[in-house]
Amino acid sequence: MIDIVISANNLTKKFGNFIAVNNLSLEIKKGELFGLLGPNGSGKTTTIKMMTGQLKPTSGSVDVLGVDAIAQPIRVREIVGIIPEQESPPSFLTAEEYLHFVAKIRKLDNIEEKCDYWFDFLEFEDQRQILCKDLSRGTRQKLMFAQAFLHEPKLAFIDEPLINLDPIIQRKVKDYLLGYVKKGGTIFFSTHVLEIAEEICTQIAIIDKGKLLYQGRIKDLKKKRQTLENFFLKLVKE
């Protein structure tokens, strides 16, 4: 039984001379709701992309659910779910067609049933037949959410998942994520909305300019009577 679902060692990504992620090492256990926090441009998306085989790190290694993400990027993407930062479903498919399309790529069965569940759960039944490109941003985000969880992965990476959702859906999604980790799933998500992290995360890491500044439990911060905001601001300013 693997207990460590993500293990990243000295991950570094350079774009030319610019170092986007600098020697990042992280270990994440099963059942965590892990929040990666950091200011704009700090390297969150780049980290997620390296962990999911979308970008090759300049150096370092990363294992995801026991799979080497650099050597077997496709395998990693098979077993995890990913919500990318930019919601960009192909333009001329309808929402329903898109979900079907993803389900087919993932070779699922009971496709109709699974899709119906998500349209119902995220309350966008009425948008099924609209082209993806004509959907509102929030609806597109719902679609990307459904897409990532359609195959019930053990681990999901989500990049800024809640930004465009209305409060009702946000609540639903948060509860879903909490329930999901309770059942043994693991979530790795990035955000710069500290309230959300504070509310739902079990563990956080803070990065700035590609460097890991802190990794720890939210509980520990609470014990020290630190608000996450104060802590974050102090850390990043230093």
Binding site: K49, L55, I74, S91, L93, E97, K104, R106, D134
Partner: protein, 455 residues
């Protein structure tokens, strides 16, 4: 009033130059120049007379004009395609107090400038240098004016047809079919086209006629143009399921289905086929019937040209895909490319019908070899396209280094096939080219799988 235009030109320049570097982008015209120089130098008086050569050059730009002129249907897609979604001035009609028509007019003029500087000017210059070296006198200004006006006329004509297409598909299809039926007569009188008769007999009258017609056509089109910016929330039935059943012979049925849905729902669908495949085909037919390649078999040469043209369909089936919309799914880039090849083959099988029809006119005896020639050229050119540009043929063909490679790797093959068309070696070449195409495609798939996803 000129700021918008100016901004657009700058924007276009920056987009391309940032993609390829200033140097590469700026050297694009030089390649065109070198190409037309070589072409003119070797063909003039050896193979073809001056007048015929000039006529062919005009036809080439009429061809270019026809295929880029379909603004009307492509509408905002035309802008989108070259600018991407981040764009920019073209989309500012939503946020700035400028009317869409005004912006589109600017876009049109910008394209004219762009094609003039990047294509027409260097092309004519190259030919002119070759003529001068060969002591053949032509008036540079007359030629460039007449070629530009031919380009403008066909651009406007195509723009006009494509605008009308939005209002009445039937009308346009009827017009195009009557052109096909009357093609013999239409082309017989092509010298009556004001721009071409201007070349033959420069006069102010012809100049004015030519400009007047083009302006009339394009201004009418701009005025009739529907650039639909409104979010139209049309509902669509799920087509994936039914298409998949139809395509179940292929492993990539989901992707092929998606490609056809994209083509069908994007503005233009069928019209794209007409403007980028059928119209150029008719023109090629005409150019060939000038009969300037006596040593080659007519139908086979036609098939070879058709193969080369048909490769442009790859550009529009890749138009709707960015790697990034797949990068988070468990799918290899090579699988996406393979699915595109499948879609490409399905669409291009249409050319077999075209060839069949052509062979009824040109003689059935060469139908089989011409079908073979088509298949091998079409696969070879596609293979090169994929090898050099992956899923982004539209943008990358403006990269001059890649363009040189592309031209050097494709044109000799076309020539070899043409030259050998009457010999027994032809069959050997056809099969060899097919085999090479297969190997290149295999290599490209490996290549693009290794590549980092940037787009």
């Amino acid at each position: 009033m000129f700021e918008t235009l100016f901004g657009m030109v700058k924007e276009e320049w920056r987009i391309h130059s940032s993609l390829f570097g200033n140097f590469l982008f700026a050297s694009f015209p030089l390649i065109i120049l070198a190409f037309s120089f070589l072409l003119s130098f070797y063909t003039l008086n050896n193979i073809i007379t001056l007048n015929k050569l000039l006529l062919i050059y005009h036809c080439i730009f009429i061809l270019v004009g026809l295929s880029v002129g379909a603004f009307g249907i492509l509408g905002r897609e035309a802008m989108n395609r070259r600018f991407g979604h981040a764009s920019l001035i073209a989309f500012s009609s939503r946020t700035l107090p400028l009317s869409e028509k005004f912006i589109f007019l600017n876009f049109f003029i910008k394209d004219l400038i762009y094609y003039f500087i990047l294509w027409i000017l260097p092309f004519v210059a190259g030919a002119y240098i070759a003529f001068t070296i060969k002591n053949v006198y032509v008036n540079f200004f007359v030629i460039i004016a007449s070629i530009f006006m031919s380009f403008l006329a066909s651009l406007s004509f195509s723009f006009f047809l494509s605008t009308i297409y939005i209002y009445s598909k039937k009308l346009v299809i009827a017009v195009i079919f009557s052109i096909i039926l009357l093609s013999k007569y239409v082309f017989h009188y092509i010298e009556m086209l004001p721009s071409i008769s201007f070349m033959l007999k420069p006069s102010l009258e012809n100049l004015i006629y030519s400009l007047l017609i083009s302006c009339l056509l394009s201004l009418t089109s701009v005025n009739l143009l529907k650039v639909d910016y409104a979010e139209n929330k049309k509902r669509y039935k799920n087509m994936v399921i039914s298409l998949e059943k139809f395509l179940r012979f292929s492993r990539y049925k989901d992707f092929i289905a998606k490609d056809f849905i994209d083509l069908n729902r994007s503005e233009g669908g069928l019209a794209k086929l007409i403007f980028s495949l059928i119209l150029p085909t008719i023109l090629i037919w005409f150019i060939l019937s000038l009969n300037f390649i006596p040593f080659a078999d007519f139908l086979i040469v036609f098939a070879i040209m058709l193969g080369a043209i048909s490769s442009s369909t790859y550009n529009w089936i890749t138009e709707f895909d960015v790697f990034s919309s797949y990068s988070f799914l468990p799918i290899k880039v090579s699988s996406i490319i393979k699915s595109k090849i499948a879609t490409y083959s399905i669409i291009n099988s249409l050319c077999f019908i075209i060839l069949f029809i052509a062979s009824i006119k040109a003689g059935l005896s060469n139908l089989i070899p011409s079908l073979m020639a088509f298949a091998s050229v079409s696969s070879y050119v596609l293979a090169m396209n994929i090898y050099l540009t992956g899923l982004h043929p539209n943008i990358l063909l403006y990269n001059s280094k890649i363009l040189i490679q592309y031209l050097l790797l494709t044109s000799p093959i076309l020539l070899i096939l043409m030259f050998s068309s009457k010999s027994i070696l032809f069959y050997f070449f056809v099969l060899a080219v097919l085999a090479i195409a297969y190997l290149i495609i295999k290599k490209s798939l490996e290549k693009w799988d290794k590549e980092e996803i940037v787009f």
